[in-house]
Amino acid sequence: MAAAAAVTLDRFEARTYDALAGVTRVRRALRDHGLLFATGAFAALLLKRFEALISNEWLASLRPDEAETAARVLGPLHARLSQVLELAEAQGLTHHWLHRRGFEVYRAVNDRVADVLESLHLALNEDFKPLIGVCADELKDRPGRRNWRSSLAALRD
């Protein structure tokens, strides 16, 4: 399991840098009014390939040192994707018929990256671990299970 995770981490790093390079080219095309369609389509392809790697199984298998590496590598990709989406939005390109689908891919991948990054930061947070430990201990003495709908509905002042 650990060996498999290590191999995946290498591939993860390589694909993240590929995706980052692709998104950086898109940023340049947006700034310089360059050839956005071809650059954008290629970056979308790289992002899809990258997204396929960051499964929840992979995420769950990470050791703390690997989680730290993953968070360090993912941060710049998230920042760059957010920047590109903002630039495209400002130029009115996210709704343009030629580019809309590409930017939908960017947004979906950026959402996933944000979720994974948040999860990694939580895992690495020293204050978070004990909180989960306490909650997990409390579950051991769990009462009979109610219907969650009625439990939520019963909340009152």
């Binding site: 920042a79 204050d127 978070f128 409390e138 969650w148 939520l152 909340l155 002042d157």
Partner: protein
């Protein structure tokens, strides 16, 4: 598609935290949670931005829930932290913690650390019984659907 049954009562912190959020800034939180739990029940591994948290062997998960009070979509809103027990069929998901997320889109280590600190403070307040009153106040009324 791993279906699950959701339990919001097993962890004594979850419902009081929901109640505090409801009183403070999010009066529609119950509706928001209803909608997101419906999705999570169908497949907790993909619904609502599901992400496993490393270090817990795939047992601890994070889901996001949008807020109709702040209308920020799912990047804002709330985060739900749960533990999954796979020895049941369907799996059982115990909602343990919930916290409100800032409205910023960026995810940074500082922002996550701030959210955890805020969550710790909320739990401390609940523990002391300040503001929210005694914990029992936030507990749901007994109902007849116990399983």
């Amino acid at each position: 598609m791993p279906r699950c049954e959701i339990d919001v009562d097993a962890c004594p912190k979850f419902l009081p935290l929901v109640n505090r959020l409801r009183k403070k800034k999010f009066p529609k939180i119950q509706q928001d949670l209803n909608a997101v739990f419906e999705e999570i029940e169908k497949d907790y591994t993909t619904a609502a931005g599901a992400a496993a948290i490393p270090g817990w062997e795939g047992k601890v998960w994070k889901h996001r829930c949008g807020s109709s009070d702040t209308k920020t979509g799912r990047r804002g809103g709330f985060r739900i932290i749960s533990q999954v027990d796979t020895s049941f069929e369907p799996h059982r998901l115990y909602a343990m913690l919930i916290y409100a997320k800032t409205e910023k889109d960026d995810v940074t280590v500082i922002e996550v650390a701030d959210a955890v600190k805020a969550l710790q403070q909320e739990l401390e307040l609940l523990k002391r019984g300040l503001e929210a009153g005694p914990l029992s106040e936030a507990e749901p009324e007994a109902d007849t659907t116990m399983e």
